[in-house]
């Protein structure tokens, strides 16, 4: 029992260390100065939010393809894993690429719950890419919840398209 507890603590610490390591990279364009000594990284116009601000459809696919989720789920199904393996292969060919993983939800459910769900979706996609050998510190995550839908109809087909992780290449 005691050993198991120690194991949990060690895993917890590892998660905390890995987590904080990648978190520190996740800064907005204005965050560099405040963080002190951390290099500032500009964000391209590719993020769904930047596109939405300019009146463009959020998040068109680049070299990395979107993956999709079931309602109220952040689990990766087999088609998503296949797509993530393709995305992982591209990333391993482009070792300097930095990518932001966006988690999105359909319109159903509360804004706050969906923002939390989007965070879990983005994290699930990132974690799988890391298990494929992509460097953790090249992947950041952000949740947009239900705020930036691709499709605006109230149909299952539309909701399915909106429940997605989208990958934005920030720079190579």
């Amino acid at each position: 029992m005691g050993k198991r507890l120690i194991g949990v603590v060690v895993v917890g610490l590892l998660v905390a260390v890995v987590g904080s390591g990648c978190s520190s990279k996740k800064k907005g364009p204005e965050a560099g100065a405040a963080a002190g000594g951390v290099g500032e990284e500009g964000l391209g116009a590719g993020s769904s939010l930047e596109r939405a601000k300019q009146g463009m459809q959020p998040g068109e696919e680049g070299p990395l393809k979107d993956i999709h989720y079931a309602f109220d789920s952040s689990e990766l199904d087999e088609p998503s894993r296949v797509t993530l393996r393709d995305n992982g292969n591209w990333l391993k060919d482009h070792t300097t690429a930095k990518v932001e993983v966006e988690g999105h939800c359909d319109e159903r459910g509360t804004v706050e719950y969906n923002l939390a769900l989007g965070a879990k979706r983005a994290r699930a996609a990132k974690d799988y890419l890391v298990t494929l050998g992509v460097a953790s510190d090249h992947l950041t995550t952000i949740s947009y919840g239900e705020e930036l839908p691709l499709c605006h109809e109230h149909t299952e087909d539309c909701w399915q398209r909106n429940r997605r992780a989208h990958f934005v290449v920030l720079g190579e």
Binding site: S23, A31, T110, E112
Partner: protein, 438 residues
């Protein structure tokens, strides 16, 4: 039998005189929110000013009171066009009003009064009368700038509810919400209960979500993506000064001030996983409340500040839980359905409003704080979400898609009276009802 026909005949005659459909004038009808049973006439106020300006203030006052009383669900608002007494040619005290002119159009309650404008200053007196007993029930005099007429009307509507229900009404307060009425992405707004004094709080042209009121009803907490991360801000509505309170990587979401104004409960992110923590006024971590690999969001304080209701999917789908703000185990409250979110603890402490997914649609429910006595408030008219309680604990503001776009509605706590609060284009969501303004 004969007597009944006489009563009907009198009522019919009164209806004819007023140009109204037949309506019996019976005291002691069922009186409650949603009954819309108590006929009230709100007369435009008499203008006593010496100058000719501001002649519309008396009618504006009456329009705002009418609207508040409509929202309350207790009253039937009589049509101003049917009024026989004209305000500027009649008195506004019990001994100068001809009550027959009001009883004949079916009024049981009457609001009359007068106002004087000098420069920018407005002095206004309003009186509430019982038409049947021909006596004054309440009278108030208000002083302020001309721009305060809205608050004077809302305060008097609160007084009218106090007279008829024994409890002050909730109308001298404000609603914050987010809307796409002016932009593609949600901006934060505040307004009065009659949809007036609309103020756009954020002009960030980015995603803004979940505004909630500061303890003094002068400031808001909200989450904004302006730094490309969902950070928690507070903004003073008077000075416009904005302060970044929590900028932890990932979510800083759904912040709620404790009732005593000393702490903020907020959802933060721990490697993709959301957890509820308590921050102090400057945004420093005081205590972590939840600790598991599930979603934990949407904290709502109990009025005594000792417990928090929140939403967690630790058993699969989202459900409502409650836990002590000192920490410890959480207790599950909701067991009906597999998707329950958005808990809102009533100011009286006795109920929690929440949203439940039922047959694909979202509807408002209430339950007692032990999870018992579940009641459905809305019935599958569009999706009905984001409940927030009025300061008097008798009304709830929420967002509904029943008219197409999402708009704000007000219901009483039993769901009997549901009145549309906002109109126009765009989606209005995430309403938060302030405390009374003081």
């Amino acid at each position: 039998m004969n007597r009944l026909w006489i009563v009907v005949g009198v009522a019919f005659g009164a209806a004819l005189a007023a140009g109204h459909p037949c309506r019996a004038q019976v005291r002691g009808t069922i009186f409650g929110p949603g009954s819309r049973s108590y006929p009230v006439a709100v007369s435009p106020l008499k203008n006593l000013s010496t100058n000719a300006s501001a002649t519309d203030l008396g009618a504006r006052f009456a329009t705002i009171v009418d609207r508040d009383l409509t929202l309350s669900g207790f009253f039937k608002i009589l049509d101003r066009a049917a009024f026989i007494e004209k305000p500027d040619a009649s008195g506004y005290t019990a001994d100068t009003i001809n009550f027959d002119n009001w009883s004949v159009i079916g009024a049981l309650a009457l609001v009359k009064g007068a106002y004087t404008v000098e420069g920018d200053n407005l002095t206004l007196e309003a009186r509430l009368f019982d038409v049947y007993q021909r006596k004054q029930l309440a009278g108030r005099r208000y002083h302020g700038s001309v721009t305060e007429i809205r608050r004077m009307a809302n305060k008097f509507a609160d007084e009218i509810l106090a007279q008829f229900t024994g409890e002050r009404g909730p109308f001298d307060s404000r609603i914050s919400f987010v809307s796409t009425r002016d932009a593609k992405l949600n901006e934060v707004y505040v307004m009065s209960l009659d949809e007036g004094d609309l103020q756009q709080v954020t002009k960030g042209q980015t995603i803004n979500v979940s505004p909630s009121w500061g303890p003094d009803s002068r400031s808001l907490l909200f989450t904004s993506y302006k730094r490309h991360n969902p950070d928690l801000y507070t903004i003073d509505l008077v000075s416009g000064r904005e302060t970044l309170l929590s900028q932890r990587p990932g979510l800083n979401l759904g912040g709620k001030w404790s009732p005593d104004g000393s702490l903020i409960a907020v959802t933060v992110e721990d490697n993709g996983n959301s957890e509820i923590v308590l921050l102090d006024r400057s945004g420093k971590l005081v205590r972590r409340l939840t600790d598991n690999w599930s979603i934990d969001v949407s904290p709502s304080w109990s009025p005594d500040g000792r417990q928090i209701a929140f939403c967690s999917n630790r058993t699969g789908g989202p459900q409502i839980y409650v836990m002590s703000t000192d920490g410890g185990e959480a207790r599950r409250l909701s067991f009906n359905g597999n998707y329950n979110t958005s808990p809102a603890w009533a100011p009286k402490g006795d109920h929690i409003a929440y949203v439940s997914r039922l047959d694909g649609g979202f509807n408002l429910f209430t339950m007692k704080v032990d999870g018992s006595d579940v009641r459905q408030l809305t019935q599958s008219a569009g999706n009905n979400e984001d409940p927030s309680w009025a300061p008097d604990g008798r009304y709830i503001v929420f967002a509904s898609s029943r008219t197409g776009h999402k708009k704000l509605f007000v219901t009483d706590a039993a769901g009997a009276s549901q009145v549309q609060l906002t109109h126009g284009g765009g989606d209005d969501t995430s309403p938060a009802w302030s405390k009374w303004l003081e």
